[in-house]
Every structure is written in structure tokens, then in C-alpha cells.
């Protein structure tokens, strides 16, 4: 219990003193996770919506695979990305291993299936509701996807936030492909793992509280910007 209070006190001290390392780690965490979120959302939101309205052979199988990929073990993803980016791997020449870019790639792979799957689920229900109207209005497939994404944007925001939550809290994969290098690839989660290993629980807890606060702040900011709860029933 004492350690928890010490952790809270440490968190306040770090924030109050505008600790340079803390700011550096926090900014990097946000940069990596938000970049991964934007890339993953760009891929996964249209994919999930397209899967909801398009009929093709092996559609069920594709959706099952997508759902299964939600449970991808991050450590395995990290290992595969490591092998692909290592000097002896096919993309080794790009020199991306142990850089924030490698961490972003790993996070995109981890969160894309999650965002696409939640999107598919939500869009399937909306498509069921809109199907007759959009067909009757003679819309093209592109216009249907557009209408569903626009009208389902609040649900899609939830999907994106779920992806962000997973990305910002991820440690296994980015530890492997980022290497937890000070001032280069160290982020909040890998720093917590490091401080815990060193036995500095107060600092680890302090960083943990900052991570939780950060996650809450990003969620609240996005909700506020998109006025999720202020426009009646949607």
C-alpha cells in the first residue's frame, strides 16, 4: 500500500518538475501509438466496412481469420517483425530495426485486425438497417461505404480507441523490435518494465499512473472533439 502512495507521489513529482526524461518518453509513446493508430485506422476502417457490405467466396472464412488475428500474441508479432527487419531479413537493408518506425510497424500489425473486426461488427448492423434505403437510392458501392463510415463514425471511433488502448499499452512486441534504447525507442511501457526489473517500484508505478492518465486524456479529448454524447440518439 505504501508503495502505491509512493508511486502516486512520484508521478506527481515527475509531472510537477516537468522531468525531461518523462516528457521525452511520453511524447515518444504518443507519437508511436498515434501514428500506428492513424495507419491502422486508414487500412482497417474501410476494410471492415467493405467486409460488411460485400459478398464474395470465402467471406466467412476471411472474417473468421480476421477475428482470430485479434488475439495475435504481441511477442510473436514482435519476433516476426524482428526477423523481417534484422540485417539478415528481407527488409534488413532498410535499417529499421531498433527505431520508432519498427515499433509503429509492429503496433499496426497488432491493432489493425482489432479495429477491422470491431468495425465489421458495427457496420454489419448499420448495413442491415440501411440496406434497402441505399439500394433504393441507387447508390454505388463506394457511396454505400462512404455513408456507412460517416453515419457509423461514432462506433468507428470506439473501434479506433480500442486500437489506441491496445497500442499504448503494448510492451512485448515493441520491446523486441525497439530494444528499449534510452532517448531513441524507450516508451512508457518499456520504461515501466525496465524500472520494475531494477526494483524501482515507485518510479515504475509513477510511470504507470502517467500512462493511465494519458490514455484517459486521449480518450476524453477524442470523445469531446467528436461530440459523441451531445447529439441525441444516433
Amino acid at each position: 500500500m505504501i508503495e502505491i502512495w509512493a508511486g502516486i507521489a512520484e508521478a506527481f513529482r515527475l509531472i510537477w518538475s516537468l522531468d525531461e526524461d518523462l516528457i521525452d518518453i511520453t511524447v515518444r509513446s504518443l507519437k508511436v501509438s498515434l501514428t500506428a493508430l492513424v495507419i491502422a485506422s486508414t487500412l482497417a476502417l474501410p476494410l471492415g466496412t467493405w467486409l460488411a457490405i460485400h459478398r464474395f467466396s470465402y467471406r466467412r472464412f476471411t472474417i473468421s481469420v480476421l477475428n482470430a488475428l485479434m488475439g495475435l500474441p504481441p511477442v510473436v508479432v514482435g519476433l516476426i517483425v524482428y526477423m523481417l527487419l534484422s540485417r539478415s531479413g528481407p527488409f534488413g537493408v532498410m535499417g529499421l530495426l531498433f527505431t520508432p518506425t519498427a515499433m509503429i510497424i509492429a503496433q499496426v500489425i497488432i491493432i489493425s485486425p482489432l479495429i477491422a473486426s470491431i468495425t465489421h461488427q458495427a457496420m454489419r448492423e448499420l448495413w442491415f438497417e440501411y440496406h434497402d434505403l441505399l439500394i433504393s437510392l441507387n447508390t454505388t458501392k463506394r457511396q454505400r461505404v462512404g455513408a456507412l463510415i460517416w453515419d457509423g463514425r461514432r462506433t468507428l471511433l470506439t473501434a479506433a480507441l480500442a486500437g489506441f488502448g491496445r497500442a499504448i499499452g503494448e510492451v512485448g512486441a515493441i520491446m523486441i523490435v525497439g530494444g528499449n534504447i534510452d532517448q531513441v525507442t524507450r516508451v512508457l511501457t518499456t520504461a515501466i518494465a525496465l524500472e520494475t526489473g531494477k526494483g524501482d517500484f515507485a518510479l515504475a508505478l509513477g510511470l504507470g499512473f502517467i500512462l493511465i492518465t494519458l490514455s484517459l486524456l486521449v480518450n476524453l479529448t477524442i470523445h469531446a472533439l467528436s461530440r459523441t454524447e451531445s447529439e441525441g440518439r444516433w
Binding site: D132, S136, N138, D151, G152, G232, R233, W234
Partner: protein, 237 residues
Amino acid sequence: MKQDMSVSLQDVVVRRRGKIVLGPITLDLPNAGFTMVLGPNGAGKTTLLKVLHGVERTSSGWMSWSVPSQTARDGQAYVFQSPIMLRRSVRANLAYPLQLLGLDKADISARVTKWAVRIGLSAALYFPALSLSGGEQQKLALARALIRRPNTLFLDEPCANLDGSSIREIEEILREAVQAGAQIIMTTHDLGQARRLADHVVFLNKGQIEEQASATAFFDAPGSVGASAFLNGDIVE
């Protein structure tokens, strides 16, 4: 100037899960103002409307409009029995079909304002459409269909579950549309409404057309046993 949009169906059959739900039907529908499709539950009224609108696939037979099929399709609008509201504001619901047509913003805005006033929702333009009452949603669905100035309007029980004043308002809007040259093909269970509006009647029973006649002839002297029973309020099986 509205185009003549008569339609012919030849031996049209619709099957679902191996069972015939409509047909075989052979029908020539004139461009007759109000055409009422009447019949008991399960007669195939909605299916016929959807076939005519081109959103229900036929299992066999063919259908042809007096204009090229794409022109016919572009000039049609459909109002469903349960209004489907886009999860947007009243204004955005009205504007959407016009945006699909690629109209400019000023034209869209003018038409939206005109129709919002016409259906008494000008004060609710920026409210979510889903927050409206059932009657208001049905009026909005009707306005969203008419805002495109369709040649042919399909209505599937547009006044089901509505109160008297909403029904009166909707009928008034429909009469105006017909006066402006639109052809309306609608289903209804309300015989009073059919008598008030119909110019032409198609009576369906068990997926077959039992009778097709002018409204006066149909209501004064129905030519089939099923239609007589239906008009007398008997159970038609």
C-alpha cells in the same frame, strides 16, 4: 414535363427458398396517377412493389418500362413501411438524395428548406432524425423521396400506424405530387384511403393478380370473389 412511365410485366415469378411468393404475373400498369395495390396480408404486395422498383430479383419473366430501364430507375423513389432514417439530422436526411444527384449547394439548400417547411419540420432541421415521432419520420421519409422530383413513387403502407392528422397531411402531399405529374404506386390496408386516393386498383391474392380495374369499377362492382370478400371485410384466404 414528367415522362410517361407505364410498365409491363410478363410472366414474372419471385421465389424465396423454393416457394413462389409472387406470380406468375402478367400486368400492364398505365401511368395512372394513383395505382393502389390491395390484398390481404402475404398476398405479395410489397414484393410486387420491390420488383417494379428493381430491388427484388425475379426468378423468371421480364419487366419493361416505357423508357430505358436506367431512366426509369433514376426517376423512381421508394418509401418503406417502416421509415429508414439515416443517423443524421433532418436536414442531412433531406439533402442526401440531392447530394447523390450532384446538385449544387444552393439548390440543395433551397429544396431542403422548401420541403422542411412543407412537412412542418423547419424548426427541427438540425435535430437527429431518429428523435422524431413515427409520424414525423414517415413525413420526412416521404419528403426525402419527393425532394428528388421522381416520376414514379412507390409507397409501401406509408400511413400504417399513423394518427388521423398525419394521414391527412401525407395524403395532401401525395395529391400534390400527382398533380405535379408523378405516378404513385402504393400498397395500403386502409380501404378508406384506397377509396379516397385510387385512380386504378390492382388486387393481389396469394401472389396472383385477381383483378385489375379503375378505382370506380373496382369499388362499385368488384369482378372477383376474393375482391368482393376483401371489400366486405371478410377474411380472404
